[in-house]
């Protein structure tokens, strides 16, 4: 029996519980940003598609509903673009220095990958679990990220991923979803790109964006610009 003194959970409480709350779910944390009415429409649409899938066995409608509402949540409440804190009005187009088939490409992903035995140890914690990273997301968002160097010929079994900001299930089962070292190596072998930097890089993008922009990103850019192995950077933000 429920405690009569405990206040009833509101729809707003329910929505917000998916955002690092009692029902934390990185695939659906965006529900926090929907209005109550939108949340009702989301649940209605999702349940309708689930009922349809029970008979058809086709998950297309369920996936599409989750995808559409994800977009609505992230882009439907943006507000004034002038208030976006990391806005740049200049778009610097740097032309390729030579044909792509001769360019050396470096992979930089914000996937949160690292190699077993080379744990970046956030806050000094070795072997921090994914659950703990999610629970400490507020601390991650205040700190500068650290960059993990990963040999592109690493045994995939030695790859680890930990990131409290996005659903990692897909990259955990197939790193190439967000850290495509194998595909880029194949493209180098096929002559589409000139070469792949033998070292790829990954960091946790859920970090202080100010520290990233002002402190570490300029250092990383200088490092890549001077390494003699990089003509082009392939970026995969997660």
């Amino acid at each position: 029996m429920s405690d009569e003194t405990e206040p009833a959970e509101t729809i707003e409480d329910l929505r917000k519980s998916f955002w690092y709350g009692s029902r934390s779910n990185l695939s659906f944390k965006y529900l926090k940003d929907l209005s109550d009415a939108e949340f009702g429409d989301f649940v209605d649409e999702l349940l309708t598609e689930v009922a349809s899938m029970i008979d058809s066995g086709d998950p297309t409608g369920v996936i599409d509903a989750a995808y559409r509402w994800q977009i609505q949540a992230y882009t439907g409440h943006l507000g004034d673009p002038n208030d976006f804190p990391h806005r740049f009005d200049d778009v610097p187009i740097n032309p390729l220095p030579k044909p792509l088939s001769e360019c050396r490409v470096t992979l930089l992903s914000s996937s949160g990958h690292f190699v077993a035995g080379d744990d970046p140890k956030p806050f000094g914690v070795e072997s921090m679990t994914q659950a703990e990273a999610e629970a400490r997301i507020g601390e991650f968002l205040k700190e500068a990220p650290s960059l993990s160097s990963i040999p592109v010929d690493v045994d995939p079994a030695e790859l680890r991923v930990r990131h409290g900001g996005y659903p990692t299930d897909a990259v955990r089962s197939d790193h190439q979803v967000g850290f495509p070292i194998g595909h880029l190596a194949d493209l180098a072998a096929d002559g589409v790109i000139g070469a792949l930097n033998p070292t790829a890089f990954s960091f946790v993008g859920a970090a202080s964006q100010v520290r990233l922009k002002r402190m570490v990103a300029p250092e990383w850019a200088e490092q890549l610009g001077n390494d003699g192995k990089t003509d082009v950077v392939f970026l995969v933000p997660l």
Binding site: P59, Y74, D89, D231, L235
Partner: protein, 74 residues
Amino acid sequence: MPTVSVYVRSFGHLPELMGLSRSLITRHPMGRPLGAPGDGERQRAVIEAALALLESADQTIVEFAEPYRTGSRR
């Protein structure tokens, strides 16, 4: 230094706001920018489409047209 980035549609507004030079936007759910796990064909197609932007100086943000597909939809 030339760069190209791959964003999922949910974050597809960011390249324009941040003034990124070349970005490919995929119609994929969050956490799956290049495609579904095990869908190497789609993952490589996305990468090749993104790399192709490097050779174009006039298209900064382009959408990858194909919708998301899972293993059961291939």
